[in-house]
Each structure stands twice: as structure tokens, then as C-alpha cells.
Symmetry: C2
Subunit: 209 residues, 2 copies
DNA sequence: AACGATCTGTAGTGATCACTACGGTAAGTC
DNA sequence: GACTTACCGTAGTGATCACTACAGATCGTT
């Protein structure tokens, strides 16, 4: 049963992957509106009817692109669980920087969708925002682990600042190309976030005393 | 002569402004591809032929939107020229934060265009990248004023980091809405950039000794 | 061999795209 | 009043949009 279904769908799965590959390329070049089914069809060599057999509509296709890109991006790094806080932050920022260099499609397309504010929100955008919110929560928890005496507002600020830096540096790399040393900048950013944590912890203690 | 030309074009100038208003709204909602001439025409109440009388083509229209938005954004803030470096940075970040809150169209549309990498680059995107490069140079010069002993690479890194923070925080505000306190985050970022300057200056001196 | 499920190929649908041809109108110039 | 300039309105152009109807093709199952 498992064997037959694998064989049955072997061709289909390959086609699905080809379609997603093409759609990923085009969407991260031209955004949501710029990704036409015709273009995707031409680039992957399959007719439009095949695309619509695998995906309900254009929105579903782009959402699937986001989902797959995010999965790949996630699997490219992991949260370290030992060492000093400084070491762990340094290790994590390095991994995120590397993951962004190796599979930038996820964040590029995600940011393009996030910046758009169309009247009817496509599911693709919703999906990215959901993923992003999840990441924000994890960042907040990591911050709480490292400096437990911060209050809720400070933790939010810290997580937001950390993610904003990552977004901004990614954009700098996308625009600046090879002239931007992403790992070095991420390293700097990691240290800045730790400093910010210390600074915020200080002002929290000042308010308490 | 000047009077007549003013009177002659009075109606036209108003129409041009109405077209730009509508195009700005739509473009910052839906991006380049999502901005259709038909939609702009409906929103500004003028027929497509009027749009094409005022602008050569869609690309020219969007480029004009960028240009006007940038002008408005620029006029919303100025570089302070007195006080300690810390004060000047704090003042500047505050003004930039306020300008971004009041006229976010420029950066939102600009970032959307910058993230796209279409085969044939529209002039609108080129124009934004040019404006951005100019800002980067000014940031670099400001950094050089404040810590003259930094080497070229460190200055580039600092300017890139400062701009990346601004971009990232702007995005956080766009996505997070009212739950994001942009001035507070910009204030934090300003202090972080100063700390980064000190840190980079230190490592420069270490290398020299 | 017969059959149903999975996928592809052909050939469209009406809607919307960027853009234009062209006549009309109002105002300024002479 | 004749003429030019500046701008708007009507009504299109062919191309491309997302999407679909439907007839094969290929396959494992029976």
C-alpha cells in the first residue's frame, strides 16, 4: 500500500516539486502579483492544467512556496543549548546568517508579501505572518532564558529589535550583494542585542529600587 | 509669462497631484505589479488618457511617486548640528522615526521595489536604489564625523548596520501596527549604533597596537 | 482485458492588462 | 474670429491574466 502509493505518485510528486521550484524562483523575483501561472508553466515545462491539478489556485501555490521555503530554512539551523549566553547568541546568529545566505527565498518572498497590504489578504501572506509571529515568540523565550529579570515590555522590545536587525541586515545583503559581509554584520548584531539586554535589565532594576 | 503659465497649468497640476495621490495609495498597498492604471484612474476620477498625458508610462508614474514621496519624507526631518554626538544621534533617530510614522509610503514602496529582482529593472526601482545609496553615503559621513579613527571597512559596516536597523524597525512597525513603539525602538537603536561605533573603534585600536 | 485513479495536453473562457487614436473643450494669443 | 496649447472623454487595440472543460495518456489493481 505504502509502496504503491509512492510509485503512483512518483511522477506527480516530481511534477509538484518542479512547479514549486519554478514558482519559488519567479515569486522571489517578482512578488505575488508578478508571478503569473503562464510564466510558472513555461519555466517548469508543465501546462497550466497540471499546476491547477496540484494546487487549488494561485494563492494556494504561493502559500505552498512559502511553506516549503520556510521548512528548508528552518532545517538549515538549530538553537544551541550549551555554552554561555554570549556563546549561544553568537552561535545562533551565525547559523541564522548562514541559513539566510543559503536559502534567502523564504525571507525575501515573505517580506515582499508582508509589506503589501492588499484589501483581501491572500493566504500566502497570512501564512508568512503566522510563521513570523511564531519566531517572535521563540525569540522572546530565548531572551527570557538569558535575562530572567526583564519585564514583559522589555522582552517584547528586545525580541522585536533582534528580529528587526535580522530583517534589515538581510535587506542590506539583498541590495548590496557581495559588498555586504552578512556574517560579520550578524555577529555585530548579536553582540548589540546582548548589550541591549543588559541595558534594559539595568533600567528595569533602576525603576525597582 | 510666469503668471499665464501658472494659470494655464493650474488645472493640470491639480490633476497630476490627484493622479500621484491615487497611485501612491495603491502602489504602497499592492506593489509595482499590483498597481494598474485602471485602478489609479478609478481612484483619482480621471481617465487613463489623462494619466498618459501626464506620465509617459506606468514605470514613469511609479518613479514619480517615489520621487515625490522621498521629497516629502526628506522635508520631514533635518540633521542636527550641535550637541554631543550622543545627543545628535538621539535627535536624528527621533526625527527619522517621526518621519517614518508620518509618511511611511516612501520606505514601504521603496523596500517593496528593492526586494524585487525582475529581469528588466524599472526606473522606479533604480530611483529608489539611488536615493538609498545617497543616504548610505551621508550616514557614513556622519559616522566619520563622530568617530574619526574608524577605518573604511568599519565605517561601511556601521552605516550599513544603522540603516538596516531603521529598515527592520520600520518593517516591524508595518507588520506589528500599534503594538510596536517605533520611537522607543529607534531610541534604543540609536544608542546601539553609538555602542557599536565605540566597539569598532576599540577593535581598530587593538589592531593598531 | 477491463477499470478507476492519477496526471498531462489542447484549447479555450471572460476579465483585465498597459497603452493609444482621436475628437472635443476651454483658455490664452494674435 | 482664427489659431495654438493644454487637457479630458470615448472607445477602443492586442496581449496577457487566472482559471477551466475535457479528452487522452499512463499506471497499478482486479
Amino acid at each position: 500500500m505504502a509502496d504503491t502509493s509512492r510509485r503512483r505518485r512518483a511522477n506527480g510528486e516530481a511534477s509538484r516539486a518542479k512547479i514549486l521550484d519554478a514558482a519559488t524562483e519567479i515569486a522571489s523575483e517578482r512578488g505575488y502579483e508578478g508571478t503569473s501561472i503562464n510564466l510558472v508553466s513555461k519555466r517548469c515545462g508543465l501546462p497550466a492544467s497540471s499546476i491547477y491539478w496540484h494546487f487549488a489556485d494561485k494563492d494556494d501555490l504561493i502559500a505552498a512556496v512559502i511553506e516549503r521555503s520556510f521548512g528548508r530554512w528552518l532545517s538549515a539551523w538549530s538553537v544551541p543549548d550549551d555554552g554561555t549566553p554570549r556563546d549561544r547568541v553568537a552561535e545562533m546568529t551565525m547559523q541564522v546568517a548562514k541559513a539566510l545566505l543559503e536559502s534567502p527565498d523564504f525571507l525575501r518572498l515573505g517580506l515582499m508579501l508582508a509589506l503589501e497590504r492588499r484589501p483581501v489578504e491572500p493566504r500566502a501572506r497570512e501564512m508568512y505572518l503566522q510563521v513570523r509571529a511564531q519566531a517572535q515568540i521563540q525569540l522572546r523565550e530565548a531572551a527570557m532564558d538569558m535575562s530572567p529579570d526583564l519585564d514583559a515590555a522589555a522582552l517584547d522590545q528586545l525580541a522585536t529589535y533582534a528580529m528587526a536587525g535580522a530583517d534589515g541586515l538581510f535587506i542590506a545583503k539583498e541590495i548590496g550583494g557581495d559588498s555586504v559581509d552578512l556574517p560579520a554584520l550578524f555577529d555585530l548584531h548579536g553582540r548589540m542585542v546582548i548589550d541591549a539586554a543588559l541595558r534594559l535589565a539595568e533600567s528595569t532594576r533602576d525603576e525597582d529600587s
